[in-house]
Amino acid sequence: MIDHVLTWMTFFPLIGAAVIVALPGRFKDAFKYIAVAALAVPLVLAVQVFAGFDPTLAANGKALRDAAPGLDPVAYGLQFVDHAVWIRAFNIEYFVGVDGVSASMVVLSALVSFIAGLASFLVRKPVEPHHGSQAGIQVKERGYYALLLMLATGMMGVFVALDLFLFYVFWEVMLLPMYFLIGIWGGPRKEYAAIKFFLYTLFGSVLMLLAIIYMYYYGTPVKGDFLLADGSATANRHTFNMMYLAHHTQYQWVSFISGKLLWVLFFIGFAIKIPMFPFHTWLPDAHVEAPTAISVILAGVLLKMGTYGILRINYPMFPAETMWASTAMAAFGMINIVYGAFCAMAQKDFKSLVAYSSISHMGFVLLGMSSFTQEGMNGAVLQMFNHGTITAMMFLLVGAIYDRAHHRNIEGFGGLAKTMPVYTAFSGLAFFAALGLPGLSGFISEVLVFLGAFQTHRVLTMISVSGVVLGAAYVLWTIHRVFLGPLVKEEYGHFSDLNWREVATLAPLAVIVIVLGFYPMPVLDLMSAGLGALKDMVLAAGAAGVPVAGL
């Protein structure tokens, strides 16, 4: 057992990045191994977090409101906490820790990053020497692996940060490596995709920044003082500490600024990341252009940051406003599900089909979150985890076929089941999990979401269920077009099946998909209690109504 485990998980990849940058060029064959090693360490530590996390220590809403201003992390259900003062002048702290929701995301992030590292290895010579192959990285390896490791640090940081400022810094820091990873190693329209990704996300995050600054200045302690990590009182009685902001702060509203406005600012910032209709257009572009490993991270982890942020910030800090926006969230979730599925059906490009299916699946998360029932919330977070694993598999599979065929046109395939049986088996598993086949993990989370959401948003849920049918339609149609029927081209008969490295990236995910399909309790136990408290908090605040005037 290691102390400061979250800090190590967050910054160990950064050490790896520094090593890669510092090493002379003649070690360039070692870069990928260093990167994978640096990503393996957080994965091992994630096991410690997963095993050592005590789900019974969840926050209890009533105890929180009565708690004394001195911050006892355990009372908030936080574990593995590291807490120190960072910038004293503005009461900014280095405060990391996990509760149930972030623990599951931390595990997911470590797992997907590691698999993305493995997936970056070169499989075979690329066709276009300048752009590299979609799966393997051959050009400028130093930069690629250093950026990948920085990205891992940024992602992990977002999930563990408990100081609002720290959260924002990690949120932004993660953008940069992503921008370069898409922009340098991406496909033909990489520049457009990279800039679009960056501008969209930054637009959302600057809105968030305004809200953060407002909360800092106009949140005052309900009683006593905000205390810093070392026990001293904050200067000016302002704080970025998320626990204080959520549970011990009352806000003063000036002119047109209200809790609803702040809620919307945060929500737009996160919705762009999810991505929620109508802010979703960056996602297909980014996915289509990004190299395979980066698509895996993008879909597997980055999209979850949006919904995670809503659960971490919008819900506890503005519970009454969350209740106020519940129907809108559910409606957007419904639009995402149905619209994403229709778009997926219309795609010719294999990768953009998977991208649109992501949009559809993230809609389930929104719908479940907006239900404020135990089933719905559990289903939403479980769906975040499951979507991370399933979509990661789907992008790996698309990358594998692109490596062989050098195109992604769905119509251009056919009959691959004959030549690539292992590939077809993994694809079947991933795609059926995506459509929600019982016995695979996607089914459990979707059913939980519908069970929960039906109690709160009856009509919207009924429309959303059609998304499952549409999902089945595009998945089955795709399988039909790609794997069944006669071979369309003679040369496709000579494709080699998956090699050991590809199997190594897919197999762990496949095991998780199957295990969670039968027994989802390991993940559900992790977060169930915490989500229950969060739900109770929102419901209680919603019953009391949106506070109109501050103080």
Binding site: W86, I87, R88, A89, F90, H130, K140, G143, Y168, V169, E172, V173, L175, L176, Y179, F180, G183, I184, K190, E191, A194, I195, F198, L199, L202, F203, V206, L207, L209, L210, I213, Y214, Y216, Y217, Y218, A235, N236, R237, V254, S255, I257
Partner: protein
């Protein structure tokens, strides 16, 4: 003795210029070792900077009477002087190997640079408007010559001439404004003018024409110096045409000095928040300039194709954010927004680093810096590309770099000053920084994503394959700039504290000069601690807010009135002891002739 010691930074800077001039004469005409002149300049300016930050914060006032009303030294002046001097040192280092490549004579260049920094010190530290004007002229004249120092280039000559003609016009505006202020108040020192204007503003029938005209003239002059729209037209051309080390100096030091004086002058003379009750208040004027500057700077930056021009428009846009910071004073404390000095620091570090990289790329007289020349930079010069990356992202305001902390800090302070009315402008600023991101990303796009076009023979240099200048001093300068950008982004605590204390000293309080004139008269009738608060402004601000904003504002105003009355009383006592009663509390001094008012001066 004390006075000499306090003047040491200025003397060292001036001495550096003289020393470099002498060394240049002593060394041969074509001495290949002339590069050391730049190192000497940088060392001298760096020593002056260290002296400034050690001697000036919390320094006692000057003892000798002839310096007392001429220079002010305090934390504010120390902060900005150090910034100016450090930028000057960086420019000197950048120039060491840049000048021979461009065929510029180093002796005169480095001498002028040192003298310009000296002038900037006097400009920043001036206590009265004449010193301020002299400082401005010394600083600017040297920069005019520096901008045109590459005599073989038509661009550089054009840049120098343009800067000179427009700069001369701006100086004239400043002088004209000074004259109007003198006419309105009969005083040339900042505190005296402030007291005079504040007195006149509160009386009903006061003449508002003189101060109003003076305000406009001063803003035009200072707007020119800091490159605010609509006084920015020279900026892209001059920044593009001037040798790049000079551009770095102009974008860094001249702008920093300009903002130091702009904020001190406007905030002191027009006494935020009452701002003198003018038809066009300084607040409105500053806000208008700020919004116009950032919008125009950013929008025009988007369509540029030359790195130096992009950075020039970026510097215009940053002037806009800074003007917003100067505008947004807390109604209660009327101190300078504590985000402004830190923002300038982060901006200067990043902008000097970025221009530094550009100056290293301009080998062999090649000063054409269109974007395609950056193509493939990450492959050819990975370290230069990395420095450019850090500096450009810092300018764009992306964490974990200094520019982000600066923006965060500035917007935070602007919002805190008065959230209800300021939030609109912060949103405008934030959206602007999004627009800016586009052109910053374009620079990086060329440096990192684009491959250089394959060409052969004579076109090699034109296509961007020209080797970068090998220069240890310049590498040191840009290295420090990049590291500073990182340091300010990751561990900003110390510099934020320094920024806060510098900002709290920005306004020269009229009560301070009253206290100097008659310490005894200040004691009675004081309800709250008046002059320059020693505690960080924020805590005072919060305390004041808790007490109720309006009450605090009234208290401050009463305070100021009391101080002014004390001062008037002291003044008349010294003029004619025992013969005259103290003046009525609210004298109308706008219309009063300079020596009039019956005080018998």
């Amino acid at each position: 003795m004390n006075d000499l010691l306090l003047c040491a930074p200025i003397l060292v800077a001036a001495g550096t210029g003289i020393l470099v001039m002498a060394l240049d004469l002593l060394s041969g005409r074509d001495d290949p070792r002339k590069g050391f002149l730049g190192v000497v300049t940088a060392a001298g300016l760096a020593i002056a900077a260290v002296l400034a930050v050690t001697l000036w914060p919390g320094a006692p006032a000057f003892e000798m009477s002839f310096l007392k009303g001429v220079l002010i030294v305090d934390g504010f002046v120390a902060f900005f002087s150090a910034l100016v001097l450090a930028t000057g040192a960086a420019a000197a280092l950048l120039a060491v190997d840049h000048l021979p490549e461009q065929g510029i004579e180093p002796g005169a260049f480095q001498t002028l640079l040192a003298f310009s920094a000296t002038g900037a010190l006097a400009f920043v530290a001036a206590a009265d408007l004449v010193t301020m004007f002299l400082g401005l002229e010394v600083m600017s004249l040297a920069v005019y010559a520096l901008a045109a120092s590459k005599r073989s280039s038509g661009f550089a000559t054009e840049a120098g001439l343009k800067y000179f003609v427009l700069g001369g016009l701006a100086s004239a505006f400043l002088l004209f404004g000074v004259a109007f202020l003198y006419g309105a108040t009969g005083s040339l020192d900042l505190a005296g003018i402030a007291a005079g204007l504040a007195g006149g503003a509160s009386s009903a029938g006061a003449d508002r024409v003189l101060p109003q005209v003076a305000l406009v003239l001063l803003l035009v002059a200072m707007g020119f110096k800091v490159a605010a729209v609509p006084f920015h037209f020279w900026t892209p051309d001059v920044y593009e045409g001037a040798p790049t080390p000079v551009t770095a100096y102009m974008a860094g030091a001249v702008k920093a000095a300009g903002f130091a004086v702009l904020s001190r002058l406007i905030l002191t003379v027009y006494q935020a928040p009452s701002w003198g009750g003018l038809p066009l208040s300084p607040a409105d004027a500053l806000l208008g300039l700020a919004v116009l500057t950032m919008v125009v700077g950013n929008v025009l930056g988007v369509v540029q194709d030359d790195v130096k021009r992009i950075l020039a428009y970026s510097s215009i846009a940053h002037a806009g954010y800074l003007l917003l910071g100067v505008w947004a004073t807390d109604p209660a404390t009327r101190a300078l927004n504590d985000g402004v000095p830190f923002y300038l620091l982060a901006y200067v570090a990043a902008t000097v680093g970025a221009f530094g990289v550009v100056s290293l790329l301009g080998a062999r007289g090649e000063e054409d810096m269109r974007l395609p020349r950056l193509a493939g930079l990450s492959k050819r010069h990975p370290v230069l590309a990395a420095v450019l990356l850090v500096c450009v992202l810092s300018l764009a305001g992306i964490p974990p770099f200094g520019g982000f902390m600066g923006k965060f800090n500035l917007f935070k302070a602007v919002l805190a000053a008065d959230p209800a009315s300021n939030v609109t402008w912060v949103v405008v600023a934030v959206l602007n920084s999004l627009v800016a991101l586009y052109y910053y990303l374009r620079i990086l796009l060329y440096a990192y994503f684009r491959e250089p076009e394959v060409v052969s023979g004579d076109d090699v240099a034109a296509a961007g394959h020209a080797p970068a200048i090998r220069s240890a001093p310049a590498w040191a300068a840009i290295g420090v700039a990049a590291l500073a950008s990182l340091y300010l982004g990751i561990l900003p605590g110390r510099m934020m504290a320094a920024s806060g204390s510098a900002a709290s000293a920005a306004v020269v309080r009229p009560d301070l000069s009253a206290a100097l004139a008659a310490p005894a008269a200040l004691a009675p009738g004081k309800s709250s601690p008046a002059p320059a608060p020693a505690s960080p402004t924020v805590s005072r601000r919060a305390a004041v807010r808790d007490a109720g904003r309006d009450a605090a504002r009234d208290a401050t105003r009463n305070d100021r009135d009391a101080a002014r009355n004390d001062r008037d009383a002291a003044h008349s006592r010294s003029a004619a002891p025992g013969t005259r009663p103290p003046r009525p509390p609210r004298p109308s001094r706008f219309a009063a002739p300079p020596a009039g008012g019956g005080s018998g001066r």
